[in-house]
Protein backbone atom coordinates (compact mmCIF):
# COMPACT_ATOMS: atom_id res chain seq x y z
CA UNK A 1 0.00 0.00 0.00
CA UNK A 2 1.27 3.46 -0.80
CA UNK A 3 2.53 5.68 1.95
CA UNK A 4 -0.11 8.37 2.18
CA UNK A 5 1.35 10.48 4.96
CA UNK A 6 5.03 10.43 5.67
CA UNK A 7 7.17 12.25 8.22
CA UNK A 8 10.92 12.13 7.84
CA UNK A 9 13.29 13.13 10.59
CA UNK A 10 10.96 15.72 12.05
CA UNK A 11 12.32 17.94 14.82
CA UNK A 12 10.77 20.70 16.86
CA UNK A 13 12.08 22.61 19.83
CA UNK A 14 10.42 25.26 21.95
CA UNK A 15 12.99 27.46 23.58
CA UNK A 16 15.39 25.04 25.13
CA UNK A 17 13.03 22.12 25.13
CA UNK A 18 13.39 19.61 22.30
CA UNK A 19 9.84 18.37 21.96
CA UNK A 20 10.28 16.17 18.91
CA UNK A 21 13.62 14.82 17.86
CA UNK A 22 14.37 13.15 14.55
CA UNK A 23 11.04 11.36 14.26
CA UNK A 24 10.15 9.11 11.34
CA UNK A 25 6.55 8.13 10.90
CA UNK A 26 4.36 6.98 8.06
CA UNK A 27 0.78 5.99 7.51
CA UNK A 28 -0.22 3.87 4.54
CA UNK A 29 -3.46 4.43 2.74
CA UNK A 30 -6.36 2.85 4.57
CA UNK A 31 -4.30 2.17 7.68
CA UNK A 32 -5.18 3.00 11.23
CA UNK A 33 -2.08 3.91 13.21
CA UNK A 34 -2.17 4.76 16.89
CA UNK A 35 0.33 7.02 18.59
CA UNK A 36 0.79 6.36 22.27
CA UNK A 37 3.08 7.67 24.92
CA UNK A 38 3.10 9.30 28.33
CA UNK A 39 2.01 12.91 28.68
CA UNK A 40 4.51 15.35 27.31
CA UNK A 41 5.82 12.86 24.80
CA UNK A 42 5.08 15.26 21.98
CA UNK A 43 2.00 13.63 20.51
CA UNK A 44 -0.19 16.69 20.10
CA UNK A 45 2.81 18.65 18.91
CA UNK A 46 3.14 16.04 16.23
CA UNK A 47 -0.40 16.77 15.08
CA UNK A 48 0.28 20.48 15.20
CA UNK A 49 3.31 20.02 13.01
CA UNK A 50 1.47 17.93 10.44
CA UNK A 51 -1.43 20.38 10.22
CA UNK A 52 0.79 23.41 9.91
CA UNK A 53 0.12 25.07 13.25
CA UNK A 54 3.83 24.84 13.96
CA UNK A 55 6.64 24.69 11.50
CA UNK A 56 9.16 21.90 12.01
CA UNK A 57 12.73 22.95 12.69
CA UNK A 58 13.92 20.22 10.42
CA UNK A 59 12.70 17.27 8.42
CA UNK A 60 9.97 16.66 5.87
CA UNK A 61 6.24 16.10 5.97
CA UNK A 62 4.83 14.56 2.81
CA UNK A 63 1.28 13.87 1.76
CA UNK A 64 1.40 11.59 -1.24
CA UNK A 65 4.91 12.82 -1.83
CA UNK A 66 3.86 16.44 -1.72
CA UNK A 67 5.55 18.56 0.94
CA UNK A 68 3.27 20.15 3.54
CA UNK A 69 5.99 22.12 5.31
CA UNK A 70 5.45 25.85 5.18
CA UNK A 71 1.91 25.68 3.89
CA UNK A 72 -0.79 27.54 5.81
CA UNK A 73 -3.04 25.22 7.84
CA UNK A 74 -6.16 25.85 5.79
CA UNK A 75 -4.37 24.71 2.71
CA UNK A 76 -3.06 21.56 4.35
CA UNK A 77 -6.62 20.75 5.26
CA UNK A 78 -7.72 21.27 1.70
CA UNK A 79 -5.00 18.98 0.50
CA UNK A 80 -6.47 16.23 2.59
CA UNK A 81 -5.48 16.23 6.26
CA UNK A 82 -8.06 17.11 8.93
CA UNK A 83 -7.95 16.79 12.69
CA UNK A 84 -9.85 16.86 15.92
CA UNK A 85 -8.61 18.44 19.11
CA UNK A 86 -7.61 17.11 22.46
CA UNK A 87 -9.56 19.88 24.20
CA UNK A 88 -12.53 20.08 21.82
CA UNK A 89 -12.72 23.18 19.69
CA UNK A 90 -16.22 23.35 18.32
CA UNK A 91 -17.99 26.44 17.06
CA UNK A 92 -20.17 26.45 20.13
CA UNK A 93 -22.67 29.14 19.24
CA UNK A 94 -23.35 27.75 15.81
CA UNK A 95 -25.77 24.93 15.20
CA UNK A 96 -24.67 21.34 14.82
CA UNK A 97 -25.31 21.38 11.12
CA UNK A 98 -23.59 24.72 10.64
CA UNK A 99 -20.48 23.39 12.32
CA UNK A 100 -20.25 20.68 9.72
CA UNK A 101 -21.28 22.91 6.83
CA UNK A 102 -18.63 25.44 7.75
CA UNK A 103 -15.90 22.85 7.30
CA UNK A 104 -16.93 22.39 3.69
CA UNK A 105 -15.52 25.83 2.92
CA UNK A 106 -12.38 24.52 1.35
CA UNK A 107 -14.13 22.30 -1.15
CA UNK A 108 -16.57 24.96 -2.34
CA UNK A 109 -16.02 28.27 -4.02
CA UNK A 110 -19.08 30.51 -4.10
CA UNK A 111 -17.67 33.94 -3.39
CA UNK A 112 -19.29 36.83 -1.56
CA UNK A 113 -20.67 38.37 -4.71
CA UNK A 114 -22.37 35.21 -5.85
CA UNK A 115 -23.78 34.78 -2.36
CA UNK A 116 -25.32 38.23 -2.39
CA UNK A 117 -26.81 37.71 -5.80
CA UNK A 118 -27.91 34.19 -4.96
CA UNK A 119 -26.88 32.88 -8.33
CA UNK A 120 -28.23 29.46 -9.33
CA UNK A 121 -24.72 28.07 -9.01
CA UNK A 122 -24.41 29.33 -5.48
CA UNK A 123 -27.79 28.02 -4.49
CA UNK A 124 -26.96 24.65 -5.91
CA UNK A 125 -23.71 24.64 -4.02
CA UNK A 126 -25.53 25.51 -0.79
CA UNK A 127 -27.86 22.59 -1.29
CA UNK A 128 -24.90 20.33 -1.87
CA UNK A 129 -23.21 21.56 1.29
CA UNK A 130 -26.43 20.94 3.15
CA UNK A 131 -26.67 17.40 1.88
CA UNK A 132 -23.03 16.79 2.59
CA UNK A 133 -23.47 17.88 6.19
CA UNK A 134 -26.48 15.63 6.66
CA UNK A 135 -24.58 12.75 5.16
CA UNK A 136 -21.58 13.24 7.43
CA UNK A 137 -23.77 13.57 10.49
CA UNK A 138 -25.72 10.47 9.55
CA UNK A 139 -22.55 8.51 9.98
CA UNK A 140 -23.07 8.69 13.70
CA UNK A 141 -26.47 7.07 13.68
CA UNK A 142 -29.34 8.91 15.23
CA UNK A 143 -27.33 10.86 17.74
CA UNK A 144 -26.70 13.92 15.62
CA UNK A 145 -29.72 13.72 13.37
CA UNK A 146 -33.13 15.34 12.99
CA UNK A 147 -33.91 17.96 15.60
CA UNK A 148 -30.26 18.05 16.58
CA UNK A 149 -29.24 19.77 13.38
CA UNK A 150 -30.56 23.13 14.50
CA UNK A 151 -29.45 22.98 18.08
CA UNK A 152 -26.46 25.08 19.09
CA UNK A 153 -23.37 23.01 19.59
CA UNK A 154 -23.04 24.07 23.21
CA UNK A 155 -26.20 22.17 24.03
CA UNK A 156 -24.64 18.85 23.13
CA UNK A 157 -23.42 16.35 25.65
CA UNK A 158 -19.71 15.78 25.90
CA UNK A 159 -19.69 12.56 23.93
CA UNK A 160 -21.85 14.10 21.21
CA UNK A 161 -19.49 17.03 21.01
CA UNK A 162 -16.63 14.66 20.32
CA UNK A 163 -18.66 12.98 17.63
CA UNK A 164 -19.56 16.32 16.10
CA UNK A 165 -15.93 17.28 15.95
CA UNK A 166 -15.17 14.14 14.01
CA UNK A 167 -18.12 14.76 11.69
CA UNK A 168 -16.86 18.28 11.11
CA UNK A 169 -13.41 17.02 10.24
CA UNK A 170 -14.81 14.57 7.70
CA UNK A 171 -16.76 17.35 5.99
CA UNK A 172 -13.54 19.00 4.90
CA UNK A 173 -13.12 16.29 2.31
CA UNK A 174 -9.90 15.11 3.89
CA UNK A 175 -8.62 11.60 3.33
CA UNK A 176 -6.40 11.51 6.37
CA UNK A 177 -7.96 12.03 9.79
CA UNK A 178 -5.88 12.92 12.82
CA UNK A 179 -7.91 12.11 15.90
CA UNK A 180 -6.50 13.56 19.10
CA UNK A 181 -7.71 11.48 22.04
CA UNK A 182 -11.17 10.80 20.63
CA UNK A 183 -12.16 8.69 23.60
CA UNK A 184 -10.98 11.07 26.29
CA UNK A 185 -13.48 11.48 29.08
CA UNK A 186 -15.87 8.83 27.82
CA UNK A 187 -17.47 6.07 29.82
CA UNK A 188 -16.96 2.44 28.78
CA UNK A 189 -20.10 2.27 26.67
CA UNK A 190 -19.21 5.43 24.79
CA UNK A 191 -15.62 4.24 24.44
CA UNK A 192 -16.84 1.07 22.82
CA UNK A 193 -18.97 3.05 20.42
CA UNK A 194 -16.09 5.28 19.48
CA UNK A 195 -13.91 2.28 18.80
CA UNK A 196 -16.53 0.90 16.46
CA UNK A 197 -16.92 4.28 14.91
CA UNK A 198 -13.25 4.65 14.09
CA UNK A 199 -13.28 1.23 12.50
CA UNK A 200 -16.37 2.24 10.56
CA UNK A 201 -14.63 5.40 9.41
CA UNK A 202 -12.02 3.25 7.79
CA UNK A 203 -14.19 0.52 6.33
CA UNK A 204 -17.16 2.58 5.20
CA UNK A 205 -15.57 5.97 4.87
CA UNK A 206 -12.27 4.90 3.41
CA UNK A 207 -10.33 7.23 5.67
CA UNK A 208 -6.72 6.80 6.67
CA UNK A 209 -6.50 7.46 10.36
CA UNK A 210 -3.80 8.51 12.80
CA UNK A 211 -5.01 8.35 16.37
CA UNK A 212 -3.55 9.63 19.61
CA UNK A 213 -4.99 7.65 22.47
CA UNK A 214 -4.35 6.81 26.08
CA UNK A 215 -7.08 4.25 26.43
CA UNK A 216 -5.42 0.96 25.53
CA UNK A 217 -8.75 -0.76 24.86
CA UNK A 218 -9.31 1.61 22.00
CA UNK A 219 -5.76 1.27 20.77
CA UNK A 220 -5.96 -2.47 20.86
CA UNK A 221 -9.33 -2.51 19.17
CA UNK A 222 -8.54 -0.43 16.15
CA UNK A 223 -4.87 -0.28 15.36
CA UNK A 224 -3.13 -1.88 12.46
CA UNK A 225 0.06 -0.46 13.85
CA UNK A 226 1.10 1.30 17.01
CA UNK A 227 3.85 3.88 17.44
CA UNK A 228 5.11 4.69 20.90
CA UNK A 229 6.73 8.03 21.66
CA UNK A 230 8.56 9.26 24.69
CA UNK A 231 10.28 12.63 25.04
CA UNK A 232 9.80 13.25 21.35
CA UNK A 233 11.50 10.10 20.19
CA UNK A 234 10.02 6.91 18.76
CA UNK A 235 10.69 4.12 21.21
CA UNK A 236 8.69 1.31 19.64
CA UNK A 237 6.66 0.50 16.56
CA UNK A 238 4.71 -2.56 15.54
CA UNK A 239 1.50 -4.35 16.31
CA UNK A 240 -0.24 -3.63 19.57
CA UNK A 241 1.11 -6.77 21.23
CA UNK A 242 4.66 -6.08 20.13
CA UNK A 243 4.57 -2.52 21.42
CA UNK A 244 2.69 -3.25 24.62
CA UNK A 245 5.28 -5.73 25.71
CA UNK A 246 8.30 -3.78 24.51
CA UNK A 247 10.57 -3.14 27.50
CA UNK A 248 11.22 0.47 26.53
CA UNK A 249 7.51 1.18 26.44
CA UNK A 250 6.96 -0.44 29.78
CA UNK A 251 9.79 1.58 31.19
CA UNK A 252 8.41 4.82 29.78
CA UNK A 253 5.02 4.26 31.39
CA UNK A 254 6.00 2.52 34.58
CA UNK A 255 9.62 3.39 35.22
CA UNK A 256 12.52 1.11 35.90
CA UNK A 257 12.99 -1.19 38.79
CA UNK A 258 15.00 0.60 41.42
CA UNK A 259 18.45 -0.86 41.72
CA UNK A 260 18.79 -2.72 44.94
CA UNK A 261 20.97 -1.06 47.51
CA UNK A 262 23.59 -3.01 49.28
Amino acid sequence: MAKLLELKRISKAFGGLQVIDGLDLHVDEGEIVSVIGPNGAGKTTLFNLITGVYRPDGGEILLENRSLVGLPPHQITRLGVARTFQTLRLFLNMTVKENVMAAAYGRTNAGVLRSILRTPGQRREEREINELAEEKLAFFGQRLMGYRWDQPAYSLSYANRRRLEIARATATGARVLLLDEPAAGMNPKETHEITELIAKLRTDGGYTILVIEHDMHVVEGISDRVVALDHGVKIAEGTFDEVATSPRVVEAYLGTKATATK
Binding site: F14, T44, N48, V53
Partner: protein, 307 residues
Protein backbone atom coordinates in the same frame (compact mmCIF):
# COMPACT_ATOMS: atom_id res chain seq x y z
CA UNK B 1 23.90 71.95 15.03
CA UNK B 2 21.44 73.65 17.27
CA UNK B 3 22.47 72.17 20.59
CA UNK B 4 20.05 74.18 22.58
CA UNK B 5 17.17 72.87 20.53
CA UNK B 6 18.41 69.31 20.84
CA UNK B 7 18.75 69.59 24.59
CA UNK B 8 15.32 71.17 24.81
CA UNK B 9 13.84 68.32 22.86
CA UNK B 10 15.51 65.74 25.05
CA UNK B 11 14.21 67.47 28.14
CA UNK B 12 10.72 67.74 26.70
CA UNK B 13 10.82 64.15 25.64
CA UNK B 14 11.94 62.94 29.03
CA UNK B 15 9.26 64.94 30.79
CA UNK B 16 6.59 63.68 28.47
CA UNK B 17 8.02 60.20 28.66
CA UNK B 18 7.87 60.16 32.44
CA UNK B 19 4.18 60.90 32.29
CA UNK B 20 3.60 58.29 29.63
CA UNK B 21 5.54 55.79 31.68
CA UNK B 22 3.27 56.33 34.67
CA UNK B 23 0.22 55.78 32.51
CA UNK B 24 1.81 52.78 30.83
CA UNK B 25 2.52 51.21 34.20
CA UNK B 26 -1.14 51.28 35.10
CA UNK B 27 -2.07 49.71 31.77
CA UNK B 28 0.58 47.05 32.06
CA UNK B 29 -0.27 46.07 35.59
CA UNK B 30 -3.95 45.72 34.90
CA UNK B 31 -3.36 43.88 31.66
CA UNK B 32 -0.93 41.54 33.30
CA UNK B 33 -3.46 40.55 35.93
CA UNK B 34 -6.74 40.61 34.05
CA UNK B 35 -5.70 40.42 30.40
CA UNK B 36 -7.89 43.46 29.98
CA UNK B 37 -7.10 46.78 28.37
CA UNK B 38 -8.53 49.38 30.69
CA UNK B 39 -9.81 51.94 28.22
CA UNK B 40 -10.90 54.19 31.00
CA UNK B 41 -7.36 54.53 32.34
CA UNK B 42 -6.70 57.76 30.49
CA UNK B 43 -9.82 59.26 32.00
CA UNK B 44 -8.59 58.42 35.48
CA UNK B 45 -5.63 60.60 34.62
CA UNK B 46 -8.05 63.33 33.63
CA UNK B 47 -9.95 63.06 36.88
CA UNK B 48 -6.68 63.18 38.77
CA UNK B 49 -5.77 66.37 36.94
CA UNK B 50 -9.08 67.92 37.94
CA UNK B 51 -8.70 66.80 41.54
CA UNK B 52 -5.32 68.46 41.63
CA UNK B 53 -6.79 71.59 40.18
CA UNK B 54 -9.55 71.50 42.74
CA UNK B 55 -7.08 71.24 45.60
CA UNK B 56 -5.08 74.07 44.08
CA UNK B 57 -8.14 76.23 44.04
CA UNK B 58 -9.11 75.37 47.60
CA UNK B 59 -5.69 76.27 48.85
CA UNK B 60 -5.65 79.73 47.43
CA UNK B 61 -4.85 79.18 43.79
CA UNK B 62 -1.56 79.66 42.01
CA UNK B 63 -1.36 83.38 42.62
CA UNK B 64 -1.77 83.29 46.35
CA UNK B 65 -1.31 79.86 47.79
CA UNK B 66 -2.02 79.51 51.47
CA UNK B 67 0.63 76.86 51.95
CA UNK B 68 4.24 76.67 50.75
CA UNK B 69 4.53 75.64 47.12
CA UNK B 70 6.26 72.37 47.82
CA UNK B 71 3.59 71.34 50.28
CA UNK B 72 0.90 72.46 47.88
CA UNK B 73 2.20 70.32 45.10
CA UNK B 74 2.62 67.40 47.44
CA UNK B 75 -0.97 67.74 48.62
CA UNK B 76 -2.22 67.91 45.06
CA UNK B 77 -0.34 64.75 44.23
CA UNK B 78 -1.57 62.90 47.28
CA UNK B 79 -5.16 63.95 46.71
CA UNK B 80 -5.08 62.95 43.08
CA UNK B 81 -3.46 59.64 43.87
CA UNK B 82 -6.01 58.78 46.49
CA UNK B 83 -8.88 60.00 44.34
CA UNK B 84 -7.55 58.27 41.27
CA UNK B 85 -6.93 55.09 43.19
CA UNK B 86 -10.43 54.92 44.56
CA UNK B 87 -11.91 55.75 41.20
CA UNK B 88 -9.96 52.87 39.71
CA UNK B 89 -11.18 50.55 42.42
CA UNK B 90 -14.77 51.62 41.80
CA UNK B 91 -14.37 51.07 38.07
CA UNK B 92 -13.02 47.60 38.64
CA UNK B 93 -15.71 46.71 41.12
CA UNK B 94 -18.67 47.86 39.07
CA UNK B 95 -17.62 47.79 35.46
CA UNK B 96 -15.21 44.90 35.22
CA UNK B 97 -15.75 42.45 38.02
CA UNK B 98 -19.27 41.43 36.99
CA UNK B 99 -17.78 40.60 33.61
CA UNK B 100 -15.00 38.26 34.70
CA UNK B 101 -16.58 35.35 32.88
CA UNK B 102 -18.32 37.22 30.12
CA UNK B 103 -17.24 37.17 26.47
CA UNK B 104 -13.99 39.05 25.90
CA UNK B 105 -15.73 41.94 24.21
CA UNK B 106 -17.88 42.79 27.22
CA UNK B 107 -15.27 44.44 29.48
CA UNK B 108 -13.98 46.39 26.50
CA UNK B 109 -17.37 47.85 25.79
CA UNK B 110 -17.92 48.47 29.46
CA UNK B 111 -14.63 50.35 29.54
CA UNK B 112 -15.75 52.49 26.63
CA UNK B 113 -18.93 53.21 28.53
CA UNK B 114 -17.02 54.21 31.65
CA UNK B 115 -14.73 56.43 29.62
CA UNK B 116 -17.67 58.15 27.97
CA UNK B 117 -19.38 58.52 31.32
CA UNK B 118 -16.38 60.08 33.05
CA UNK B 119 -15.61 62.52 30.27
CA UNK B 120 -19.15 63.75 30.00
CA UNK B 121 -19.64 63.91 33.75
CA UNK B 122 -16.71 66.26 34.05
CA UNK B 123 -18.03 68.18 31.07
CA UNK B 124 -21.45 68.45 32.67
CA UNK B 125 -20.28 69.56 36.07
CA UNK B 126 -17.28 71.66 35.20
CA UNK B 127 -17.96 72.79 31.69
CA UNK B 128 -15.95 72.60 28.52
CA UNK B 129 -13.52 75.41 29.23
CA UNK B 130 -9.90 74.58 29.63
CA UNK B 131 -8.86 74.98 33.24
CA UNK B 132 -5.45 76.19 33.99
CA UNK B 133 -2.99 75.28 36.67
CA UNK B 134 -1.31 78.65 36.12
CA UNK B 135 1.97 77.05 36.98
CA UNK B 136 3.89 80.13 35.91
CA UNK B 137 2.27 81.96 38.78
CA UNK B 138 3.03 79.16 41.11
CA UNK B 139 6.62 78.64 40.22
CA UNK B 140 8.66 81.25 38.49
CA UNK B 141 9.46 80.00 34.98
CA UNK B 142 13.07 80.96 35.36
CA UNK B 143 13.78 78.88 38.41
CA UNK B 144 15.52 75.78 37.38
CA UNK B 145 18.69 74.31 36.11
CA UNK B 146 20.70 76.54 33.86
CA UNK B 147 23.97 75.02 32.80
CA UNK B 148 25.30 75.97 29.43
CA UNK B 149 22.80 74.93 26.78
CA UNK B 150 20.78 73.12 29.40
CA UNK B 151 17.82 75.23 30.45
CA UNK B 152 15.41 73.16 32.44
CA UNK B 153 12.52 74.67 34.30
CA UNK B 154 12.30 73.24 37.77
CA UNK B 155 8.78 71.97 37.29
CA UNK B 156 9.98 69.64 34.59
CA UNK B 157 12.60 68.32 36.96
CA UNK B 158 9.92 67.84 39.56
CA UNK B 159 7.84 65.89 37.10
CA UNK B 160 10.69 63.67 36.04
CA UNK B 161 11.85 63.14 39.59
CA UNK B 162 8.38 62.32 40.94
CA UNK B 163 7.69 59.94 38.13
CA UNK B 164 10.95 58.12 38.63
CA UNK B 165 10.48 57.91 42.36
CA UNK B 166 7.05 56.42 41.94
CA UNK B 167 8.30 53.95 39.38
CA UNK B 168 11.15 52.84 41.58
CA UNK B 169 8.76 52.51 44.47
CA UNK B 170 6.50 50.35 42.36
CA UNK B 171 9.35 48.19 41.21
CA UNK B 172 10.42 47.63 44.79
CA UNK B 173 6.85 46.81 45.71
CA UNK B 174 6.51 44.21 43.02
CA UNK B 175 9.85 42.57 43.54
CA UNK B 176 10.31 42.71 47.26
CA UNK B 177 6.96 42.58 48.99
CA UNK B 178 4.50 39.80 49.52
CA UNK B 179 1.85 41.78 47.69
CA UNK B 180 4.18 42.07 44.78
CA UNK B 181 4.69 38.35 44.67
CA UNK B 182 0.98 37.82 44.88
CA UNK B 183 0.51 40.21 41.97
CA UNK B 184 3.04 38.35 39.90
CA UNK B 185 1.47 35.02 40.73
CA UNK B 186 -2.04 36.21 39.91
CA UNK B 187 -0.81 37.65 36.64
CA UNK B 188 0.78 34.37 35.72
CA UNK B 189 -2.12 32.07 36.47
CA UNK B 190 -5.14 33.38 38.28
CA UNK B 191 -6.67 30.06 39.13
CA UNK B 192 -3.49 28.54 40.41
CA UNK B 193 -2.87 31.61 42.54
CA UNK B 194 -6.32 31.30 44.04
CA UNK B 195 -5.68 27.68 44.82
CA UNK B 196 -2.47 28.62 46.57
CA UNK B 197 -4.41 30.74 49.02
CA UNK B 198 -3.98 34.13 47.41
CA UNK B 199 -7.07 36.30 47.70
CA UNK B 200 -7.25 37.06 44.04
CA UNK B 201 -9.99 39.66 44.30
CA UNK B 202 -8.03 41.65 46.86
CA UNK B 203 -4.90 41.49 44.76
CA UNK B 204 -6.81 42.75 41.76
CA UNK B 205 -8.30 45.59 43.76
CA UNK B 206 -4.90 46.61 45.03
CA UNK B 207 -3.42 46.44 41.57
CA UNK B 208 -6.14 48.71 40.26
CA UNK B 209 -5.64 51.08 43.13
CA UNK B 210 -1.94 51.41 42.56
CA UNK B 211 -2.19 51.66 38.80
CA UNK B 212 -4.94 54.25 38.97
CA UNK B 213 -3.16 56.21 41.68
CA UNK B 214 -0.20 56.49 39.36
CA UNK B 215 -2.50 57.71 36.62
CA UNK B 216 -3.99 60.28 38.95
CA UNK B 217 -0.55 61.52 39.86
CA UNK B 218 0.32 61.67 36.19
CA UNK B 219 -2.71 63.89 35.71
CA UNK B 220 -1.40 66.43 38.19
CA UNK B 221 2.03 66.30 36.63
CA UNK B 222 0.51 66.96 33.23
CA UNK B 223 -1.38 69.89 34.63
CA UNK B 224 1.76 71.32 36.18
CA UNK B 225 3.88 71.01 33.10
CA UNK B 226 1.42 71.82 30.37
CA UNK B 227 -0.84 74.13 32.32
CA UNK B 228 -4.14 73.35 30.66
CA UNK B 229 -6.56 70.57 31.42
CA UNK B 230 -9.98 69.74 30.07
CA UNK B 231 -12.42 66.88 30.08
CA UNK B 232 -11.13 65.31 26.91
CA UNK B 233 -7.42 65.18 27.72
CA UNK B 234 -7.52 61.61 28.97
CA UNK B 235 -8.08 60.14 25.56
CA UNK B 236 -4.75 61.10 24.09
CA UNK B 237 -2.74 60.19 27.16
CA UNK B 238 -4.54 56.90 27.28
CA UNK B 239 -3.58 56.07 23.71
CA UNK B 240 0.02 57.12 24.18
CA UNK B 241 0.24 55.29 27.46
CA UNK B 242 -1.07 52.17 25.82
CA UNK B 243 1.44 52.56 23.01
CA UNK B 244 4.22 52.87 25.53
CA UNK B 245 3.04 49.78 27.37
CA UNK B 246 2.94 47.72 24.20
CA UNK B 247 6.26 48.96 22.89
CA UNK B 248 7.91 48.15 26.17
CA UNK B 249 6.19 44.83 26.47
CA UNK B 250 2.80 44.63 28.07
CA UNK B 251 2.81 43.04 31.48
CA UNK B 252 6.39 44.09 32.14
CA UNK B 253 7.11 46.91 34.59
CA UNK B 254 10.59 47.84 33.40
CA UNK B 255 9.10 47.57 29.93
CA UNK B 256 6.44 50.14 30.71
CA UNK B 257 9.00 52.53 32.10
CA UNK B 258 11.26 52.13 29.13
CA UNK B 259 8.38 52.24 26.69
CA UNK B 260 7.12 55.47 28.18
CA UNK B 261 10.46 57.20 27.85
CA UNK B 262 10.90 55.85 24.37
CA UNK B 263 7.55 57.10 23.17
CA UNK B 264 7.99 60.44 24.90
CA UNK B 265 11.34 61.01 23.29
CA UNK B 266 10.11 59.77 19.94
CA UNK B 267 7.22 62.20 20.08
CA UNK B 268 9.45 65.09 21.07
CA UNK B 269 11.91 64.36 18.32
CA UNK B 270 9.15 63.95 15.78
CA UNK B 271 7.58 67.22 16.86
CA UNK B 272 10.85 69.06 16.88
CA UNK B 273 12.49 67.82 13.74
CA UNK B 274 9.77 66.50 11.49
CA UNK B 275 6.36 67.94 12.05
CA UNK B 276 4.45 69.04 15.08
CA UNK B 277 1.00 68.45 13.64
CA UNK B 278 1.77 64.97 12.47
CA UNK B 279 3.78 63.77 15.43
CA UNK B 280 0.96 61.44 16.40
CA UNK B 281 1.15 59.78 13.00
CA UNK B 282 4.78 59.01 13.64
CA UNK B 283 4.12 57.59 17.08
CA UNK B 284 1.38 55.48 15.61
CA UNK B 285 3.72 54.13 12.98
CA UNK B 286 6.15 53.11 15.69
CA UNK B 287 3.37 51.23 17.40
CA UNK B 288 2.42 49.40 14.22
CA UNK B 289 6.03 48.57 13.48
CA UNK B 290 6.56 47.12 16.95
CA UNK B 291 3.34 45.16 16.84
CA UNK B 292 4.27 43.61 13.55
CA UNK B 293 7.95 43.06 14.04
CA UNK B 294 8.13 42.28 17.70
CA UNK B 295 4.62 41.76 19.08
CA UNK B 296 5.75 40.96 22.58
CA UNK B 297 7.38 44.36 22.81
CA UNK B 298 10.96 45.18 23.61
CA UNK B 299 10.96 43.73 27.09
CA UNK B 300 7.98 41.48 27.09
CA UNK B 301 7.90 37.73 27.07
CA UNK B 302 6.23 36.09 24.13
CA UNK B 303 3.09 34.41 25.38
CA UNK B 304 3.07 30.71 24.73
CA UNK B 305 -0.31 29.08 24.74
CA UNK B 306 -1.02 25.42 24.50
CA UNK B 307 -2.94 24.53 21.39
Amino acid sequence: MDWEKLVQIIVNGTTLGSVYALVALGFSMVYGILKLLNFAHGDVLMVGAFIGWGVLGRLGGSLDPTVPVVLLIALMMVASMIGGGFLGVAIERFAYRPLRNAPRIAPLISALGVSFFLQNTVLLLWGADFRSYDTFDLVDPFTGLHVGVLNVWIIRLVVIASAFTMMLGLYALVKKTKLGKAMQATAFDREAAAMMGIDVDKVIVKTFFIGSALAGAAGVLVGLVFGQINHFMGFNYGLKGFTAAVVGGIGSIPGAMFGGLFIGLAEAFAAGYISNTFKDVIVFSILIAVMILRPSGLFGKAAVSKV
